[in-house]
């Protein structure tokens, strides 16, 4: 051990950051007369998302066809309750509006949750992290103009998995994570970007999405069945179908909508049930990551090889918290105003102890090393300490508000028939849009990437690079 004197700091004896900072801050704030309102993290969020309700609600930049989806559901259900229910209650049973009501509520709630919640966005790497990773990558001693390869290989369950480096987020993506170019975010366990819900579907909102499509299938089938029964009952005694439709025009609209949507929604539900049972994502299924198309013996390393456990882990597992702290306050304002610190501290303390504790200890260590006088160390050290971590994302209270996940690879394009459910359809569209998306999203601003790497990326249909790949030495 080196013979140096470490400053033994006892955090207990020092003023802990409490929600009443003005005493400390006041004396030093005489320079800043008007404390500007502290900014929340969502206001400086780098992805292409929009936020409402002060960060509680997050949506993608383009809401896709979410209004259409919502409109169709509301209109169809409304017509159902207005036109079909009275007749069916009179002639059959009063359970019908009850069942319909429950399904309708389920559908709307899960739709809104899918659309408005964080799908599992990974916050971008801080500048320090990015620099550290770059240093590790550049260790190959690359002297040529060609940039070093940006993939890492990991062995998961005896399966080799390639981790790709994300140029936008400046980090190696965890397994099953993909970067959505529509929303410009990396999303964990990325499934697809769904324009119908106007959001990405990923780790955190997959269960909402699945419940939505399953309950929508039930609702659509239920309405379809009820309308058919209704019209059949009206048309009996030789009155004819035309007479029945004239009596109840709303039913005709419902019939058309339900008939065209029930097949695609049932198909989508069936497809996703298959995905859940095999613990696959749409992204992996479309790319054929684990289907052994390349001839090798590949299996899905994430599957538990048990349908029941797969379903439970995907749908009933613990819900991870949102990693982007939307409503947290920025540690220091971009314009370096610390007037906001007064208001920031109580909010931080109210939000989570983590931020405050780390900041507090950090500030203490900072001031301790900077000045020999321990007694004057106070949260003043915070601003400087905070600057080193501008990207503080401590989200302990998970707000399942909708998040806009950016579009990533597999993107459903809305076809004229509105059928986006069939996998084959998605396959052709997603591959094309993926290539397009890759071209769009790979910025070369501050990353030393030459154009050649950008070209080889999309053309190789995967973002892996040719050349030596890293194996993790652990």
């Amino acid at each position: 051990m080196k013979n140096c004197e470490y400053q033994q700091i006892d955090p207990q004896t020092l003023p802990t950051p409490t929600p009443t900072p003005p005493v400390h801050q006041g004396s030093n704030n005489h320079k800043r007369e008007e404390p500007k309102r502290p900014r929340r993290k969502w206001q400086v969020f780098p992805g292409k998302n929009r936020f409402y309700c002060d960060g509680r609600i997050i949506v993608a930049r383009q809401s896709g066809v979410l209004p259409l989806t919502l409109g169709l559901i509301l209109v169809t259900s409304g017509l159902f309750f207005i036109f079909d229910c009275p007749f069916l209650v009179k002639h059959l049973t009063s359970c019908i509006p009850v069942i319909g009501g429950i399904l309708f509520v389920f559908v709307v709630i899960t739709l809104l949750q899918t659309s408005f919640s964080d799908p599992g966005i990974l916050p971008r790497a801080t500048p320090d992290e990015a620099a550290d990773i770059e240093k590790q990558i550049d260790n190959t001693g690359n002297t040529s103009y060609r940039p070093p390869p940006r993939t890492k290989e990991v062995l998961i369950n005896q399966q080799v998995v390639k981790l790709k480096y994300c140029f936008t987020c400046k980090m190696f993506r965890p397994p099953r994570t993909s970067h959505c170019s529509l929303c410009d975010n990396c999303v964990e366990r990325f499934d697809h970007h769904c324009p119908w819900v106007g959001n990405c579907v990923g780790k955190r909102n997959y269960r909402f999405f699945y419940t939505f499509i399953v309950s929508l299938s039930f609702l659509t089938a239920f309405i379809f069945g009820c309308v058919t029964t209704h019209l059949a009952l009206r048309a009996q005694d030789g009155k004819g179908l035309v007479f029945a439709l004239q009596e109840s025009p709303g039913s005709a609209v419902e019939l058309v909508i339900c008939f065209f949507s029930v097949w695609s929604i049932l198909g989508l539900s069936g497809f996703h049930t298959y995905l859940v049972a095999s613990n696959l994502t749409t992204n992996e299924d479309i790319k054929g990551s684990w289907s052994g198309k390349s001839g090798e013996d590949v299996t899905n390393p994430y599957s538990y090889n048990n349908i029941f456990i797969n379903c439970c882990s995907v749908l009933c597992g613990p819900l991870p918290p949102s990693l982007i702290d939307r409503r947290g306050f920025l540690p220091t304002d971009e314009s370096a105003q610390t007037g906001g610190m007064d208001i920031e501290l109580p909010a931080l303390a109210a939000k989570s102890e983590i931020n405050v504790c780390t900041q507090g200890t950090k500030g203490l260590l900072e001031s301790a090393t900077l000045s020999p006088l321990l007694s004057t160390s106070c949260p003043q050290g915070k601003p400087q300490a905070a600057q080193t971590c501008p990207d503080n994302s401590s989200k302990v209270n998970s707000d399942p508000s909708p998040e806009l996940s950016t579009s990533c690879g597999a993107r459903h394009t809305v076809s004229s028939t509105g059928n986006t459910s069939s996998p084959h359809h998605c396959k052709t569209h997603s591959k094309k849009s993926k290539q397009v998306a890759l071209h769009i999203h790979n910025p070369a601003f501050d990353v030393p990437v030459t154009p050649t790497s950008l070209d080889t990326g999309p053309s190789s249909k995967a973002e892996g690079h040719k050349g030596a790949t890293f194996t993790t030495l652990h």
Partner: protein, 130 residues
Amino acid sequence: SRPTVFIQRDYSSGTICKFQTKFPAELESRVDKQQFEETIQTLNNLYAEAEKLGGKSYLEGCLACLTAYTIFLCMETHYEKVLKKIARYIKDQNEKIYAPRGLLLTDPIERGLRVVEITIFEDRSIGSGR
């Protein structure tokens, strides 16, 4: 800015949250290797507890499904409870072990669970202050 060491994620067991326990060279002079490994291992165990699939989490999941997941709006999930536990553990470790050695662990949740960031504070002998 200060020198920092980043402990990266260990994906060899899949997508669960786990950090590498390899002892970084920069910390050799600062802290005991065994102590460091114990800290990281405890963190890994805590994260495993948060993500554990078992009867209790399934029950929570099924109940949530029945209520159309609206209970997530008012209830604190099991994961969040463990995250609070992790925050307390890190604070505790900082106070007892790392701060006296001029190191500071940052809670990984503040870095999107990507890294454990360890900030190294320069050791200057602050002679007169003592």
